[in-house]
């Protein structure tokens, strides 16, 4: 089968076309092609290698480059597509020496376990999101009250919006991390950072991935026993257990 895929690929078919022709999932075709290429050390054809394009990203992450509004806004073709010029980790302090960046102008939120009763969460809100909100609510970002929500979603799907319980508290301005405690052991949590709107409603901006707090005492036959058994005996195709180390993709939304 691999030979067939390679042969079709070399005839110029796309992987999607090959998958259709052979009636195989695209993933299998991709895998076979990748494997063949890595085994044969075939260099990438320069023509097939797309030029790296993160200019939009670049302009989003850097405010240093001021382009006169008049020249930018005339026609689309004036937009310069640039290669990324520097690492986001490259930052200079006042004396001109490298320093750790204070922030990366991204939207991210991550939680790591400290103990069965405590989780460390850190986050960052991008300038674009801050600006969108201040336009929406006609108030500077700094004046919007910040809040933090803890959701217990044990045995629930976070995307459904349901939670076993939720607790929201105000955060001091300029906060970008928190040791959340006390929490309960053996519980699935999601943490959200957001603002309180004028109506007092909590508007989440960022959410962590679901995270399980560790168990701190024997559970006997607890909530994982059955899912583990089903997975062990092949009754399910994927384990119904949270994985702390998800596969990250840089282009997850580019399909």
């Amino acid at each position: 089968m691999e030979e067939k895929i390679v042969s079709l690929k070399q005839q110029g078919l796309t992987l999607k076309q090959i998958a259709e022709q052979l009636d195989m999932p695209i993933g299998k075709v991709q895998y076979a092609w990748r494997k063949w290429r890595s085994q044969h050390g075939e260099p990438d054809k320069p023509a097939a290698a797309p030029k790296r394009k993160t200019e939009g990203k670049k302009s989003m992450t850097s405010n240093s480059k001021q382009v006169p509004a008049s020249s930018v806004k005339q026609v689309a073709s004036t937009l310069q597509h640039e290669e990324p010029t520097q690492s986001p980790l490259l930052d200079k302090g006042p004396e001109g020496f490298w320093k750790l960046p204070d922030r990366y102008d991204q939207d991210l939120m991550h939680a790591v376990v400290q103990s069965p009763n405590a989780v460390y969460v850190f986050w960052e809100v991008s300038d674009s999101v801050k600006e969108t909100l201040s336009m929406q609510f006609m108030r500077p970002w700094e004046d919007l009250p910040k809040a933090f929500r803890i959701l217990d979603i044990t045995l629930l799907d976070y995307a459904s919006g349901h939670a076993n319980r939720a607790y929201t508290f105000e955060l001091p301005e300029m906060t970008n991390s928190w040791f959340v405690r006390p929490l309960d052991p053996n519980t699935t949590y999601v943490f959200e950072f957001g603002i309180r709107t004028m109506e007092g409603e909590f508007l989440p901006l960022l959410a962590s991935s679901p995270i399980d707090t560790p168990r701190a005492e024997p559970t006997g036959h607890g909530r994982f026993a059955e899912p583990v058994r089903r997975w062990q005996y092949g009754e399910v195709e994927t384990p119904e257990l949270l994985d702390t180390l998800p596969k990250y993709s840089a282009y997850r939304f580019v399909r």
């Binding site: 797309p50 989003m60 010029t85 750790l100 991550h110 994982f224 702390t244 282009y251």
Partner: protein, 733 residues
């Protein structure tokens, strides 16, 4: 033979503290470990000359430092200095007790040198030889001892594991099926990566099993399988505690050598200066002349014969304790009861000076007592069918049993930078791999900088606050090197010289150890390699689109988008998610993303709209990493704030189509929401390059209620593109 087994596991690890310049205090950590632990353990293996069933884990930083000619030569110099100091001490006319101990040290340092030179200064050869002779078994650890529960991506965890195995294999000639996870830290999911990388067993603390779900029938008397089939061997705390605890264990006995009293601090500076740091820093020589004797500073002198006597006593006591323990569990079958005792190797010798000899004596006593020792590998070979499968939650063998040491107020600042490095690596590998051999080497070097930064040692040291400055500086330095090399990659300024310079700073790991594809995600591969170059595209934000068309607006948007696609434009449409419709669809040149709110249960309209706009902005952030947008076109007031913010960030023209205004929809409206919408609508009139208003609305009418300028125009007919001259235009008519 007694029922049951005993398994001893020793984990040798130090952070990578090799520095090109001389006199770094930290490099003494290596000398101390070699003198006090590694060689004394090898002496015991050599003395006993039989299968001990000890499992020695040796971490890649230790392997690499032991193999490093610079470290090797400096260690010999260090031994010579020590021998010189001992001679001077002996010439000083010390007390009888001191002289006796100094003679002991003279013999010992000579032996260290003989052994070290016998193995041609590379102790990896010694461990490898004894392993090949079947006296010990060996496993390794992850590349730099990164704390796996606090990594963010599977890629980083895999890189740590695979790189560690590769490095070990290069030095030891085989790939171990066991691994020591740093800090015995386990987290759900790491077992899948281990299994995929060929690892079949690792070690955890006993509460990992005691609190497992379901609770294992045999408690800690047998290993268990994790959900992905990696055997987890639990540390038996009671038995281990006899050895490591300074309170209940053997090392605190008053006849043993005192760790905290060193000759360097008992001598005048003028006398000892020659052997100290050139900048006048006093540090331990390793010559410790006293024994433990109580809590006060007044310590008695070390008496070697007494210590040796205690070693014998304690080895016998340990064998007897273990015998009782095994007999108490003698009824356990399938598998028989197993006591696993994993330790930091450096505990033996460095902290407990007599520890290696104790282990040697224990090996002899266990044989006499008929207690069978076993390696985890051998245990699995015999009993693999008898293990339960359970869910184990995150845990470690550290303070309080979880992540307390590696994440707290003293070291939390490192995490966000590590996260950034991980995600940058994924992106860089997708974008640049196989562009040229030079670029691939740069990617390897970036991984090297990352793994050196992610070492759990920095967090550990910052937690302890001893040598905290060194740990923080090392972390910063690896991050800086990462940033500088990544910048050189982006600016096309790579060269052999630059890469050589980066490698020279920390010559850790061979290029062949690092597989950059560990950071590759199949999806990124598809996007960068298969999907091809993206055309410049139009970003459309609309509250209504196919599948969610409520009125005229939706139809107008569809018609416009399809007309532009027919012109040859690529269009990305962002529109609200609707249950039952796919989150992503593509029709030739039109990409439709149906975007979920950041929360599904918001009550107030303005908050729903805000949440929707935030979601658009976040999605666009991701899209622009690959798709070049040349214009943004928004429809209706509900998408104005995201469109304005994105147009500013992307520095692209902003187009707006308004089929109605709040004041035309709702001529008598008033109040908060009305005012808010009115103000948002006003803002687009000021901010957009062009605002198209519907044919039914007159500019005059709108102008009575809103401040309008030259940019306001009546909607163009569908066959006219609003975006001006386009390079990509295809004549489809």
């Amino acid at each position: 033979m007694k029922p049951g087994y005993f398994s001893l596991v020793l984990h040798a690890h130090l952070p990578y503290v090799r520095h090109e310049e001389k006199h770094r205090l930290e490099e003494r950590w290596v000398y101390e470990a070699i003198s006090e632990t590694y060689i004394p353990i090898l002496w015991q293996v050599d003395r006993l000359q039989k299968p001990l069933h000890w499992t020695v884990s040796i971490s890649p930083p230790v392997v690499e430092m032991l193999a490093d000619p610079l470290v090797q030569d400096r260690y010999v110099e260090h031994l010579d200095e020590m021998l010189e100091l001992i001679e001077i001490e002996l010439a000083e006319g010390r007390s009888e007790q001191e002289v006796e101990t100094l003679h002991f040290y003279r013999g010992r340092y000579n032996d260290l040198k003989t052994t070290f030179l016998h193995w041609e200064k590379n102790l990896n050869h010694a461990f490898r030889t004894y392993r090949e002779q079947g006296f010990i078994d060996m496993v390794t650890c992850t590349a730099t001892h990164g704390f796996n529960p606090h990594l963010f991506t599977e890629q980083a965890a895999r890189a740590e594991i695979r790189t560690g195995l590769n490095c070990f294999e290069r030095h030891y000639g085989f790939r171990p099926t066991g691994i020591w996870l740093p800090e015995c830290a386990y987290t759900p999911g790491v077992d899948r990566i281990l299994y995929e990388e060929g690892v079949r067993y690792t070690f955890v603390d006993e509460h990992a099993l005691l609190d497992a779900d379901p609770t294992p029938d045999k408690g800690i008397g047998a290993p268990v399988y994790s959900p992905h089939g990696v055997a987890l061997f639990p540390r038996d705390q009671i038995i281990s505690g006899k050895i490591w605890s300074s309170m209940i264990g053997y090392p605190g006995h008053p006849d043993y050598r005192e760790f905290y009293r060193d000759l360097a601090y008992d001598r005048d500076w003028a006398y000892i200066e020659k052997f100290m740091h050139p900048e006048g820093i006093r540090f331990d020589t390793g010559l410790k002349m006293h024994r433990i004797t109580g809590d006060s500073d007044e310590k008695d002198y070390y008496v070697r014969a007494w210590a040796e006597h205690q070693i014998d006593n304690h080895a016998f006591d340990f064998a007897q304790t273990l015998e009782g323990h095994l007999e108490a569990h003698g009824g356990q079958m399938f598998p028989p009861f197993l006591v696993t005792a994993p330790f930091d190797a450096e505990l033996f010798g460095h902290w407990w000076f007599e520890g290696p000899e104790f282990l040697g004596k224990v090996a002899e006593r266990l044989e006499e007592f008929g207690i069978e020792t076993i390696t985890p590998a051998l245990f699995l070979e015999r009993h693999f069918q008898d293990l339960e499968t359970v869910h184990v939650s995150m845990n470690t063998w550290g303070r309080k049993g979880y992540g307390d040491v590696w994440i707290n107020e003293r070291n939390e600042w490192m995490l966000r930078h590590l996260h950034m490095m991980e995600t940058q690596l994924v992106k860089d590998v997708a974008d640049y791999r196989h562009k040229s051999p030079l670029v691939d080497r740069a990617l390897i070097q970036l991984v090297r900088h990352y793994v050196l930064a992610v070492s759990s040692d920095w967090a550990f040291i910052l937690d302890g606050q001893t040598t905290a400055q060194y740990a923080a500086e090392r972390f910063r330095e690896h991050t800086r090197l990462f940033a500088e090399l990544e910048t050189a990659l982006y600016q096309d300024k790579l060269s052999d010289e630059l890469l050589a310079e980066h490698y020279r700073a920390y010559p850790f790991l061979d290029d062949v150890d690092v597989d950059i594809d560990t950071f590759l995600s199949p999806h990124d591969y598809y996007v960068t390699e298969e999907r091809g170059k993206e055309d410049e595209a139009i970003l459309v934000l609309t509250p209504e689109y196919t599948g969610n068309v409520v009125g005229d607006l939706g139809r107008r948007v569809i018609d416009e988008v399809e007309a532009r696609a027919a012109d040859g434009e690529t269009v990305y449409v962002l529109t609200p998610f609707k249950e039952g419709l796919p989150e992503y669809e593509r029709h030739n040149r039109i990409h439709v993303y149906r975007v979920r709110l950041t929360s599904p249960f918001l009550e107030h309209v303005m908050n729903q709209v805000a949440a929707q706009n935030v979601a658009y902005v976040k999605l666009a952030h991701e899209l622009v990493s690959k798709v070049p947008f040349k214009a943004i076109h928004q429809f209706d007031w509900m998408t104005i704030t995201a469109a304005r913010s994105l147009a500013k960030a992307l520095q692209v023209p902003l187009y707006s189509t308004m089929l109605s205004f709040e004041t035309t929809r709702n001529p008598h409206g008033h109040g908060g929401l009305f005012d808010a919408i009115h103000r948002i609508e006003s803002s687009i009139l000021a901010e957009a390059d062009t605002v198209f208003i519907c044919e039914q609305l007159s500019t005059e009418e709108v102008g009575m209620r809103y401040p309008i300028g030259d940019n306001v125009k009546t909607c163009l007919p569908l066959d006219a593109s609003p975006y001006g001259q386009k390079r990509l235009k295809k004549n489809t008519k």
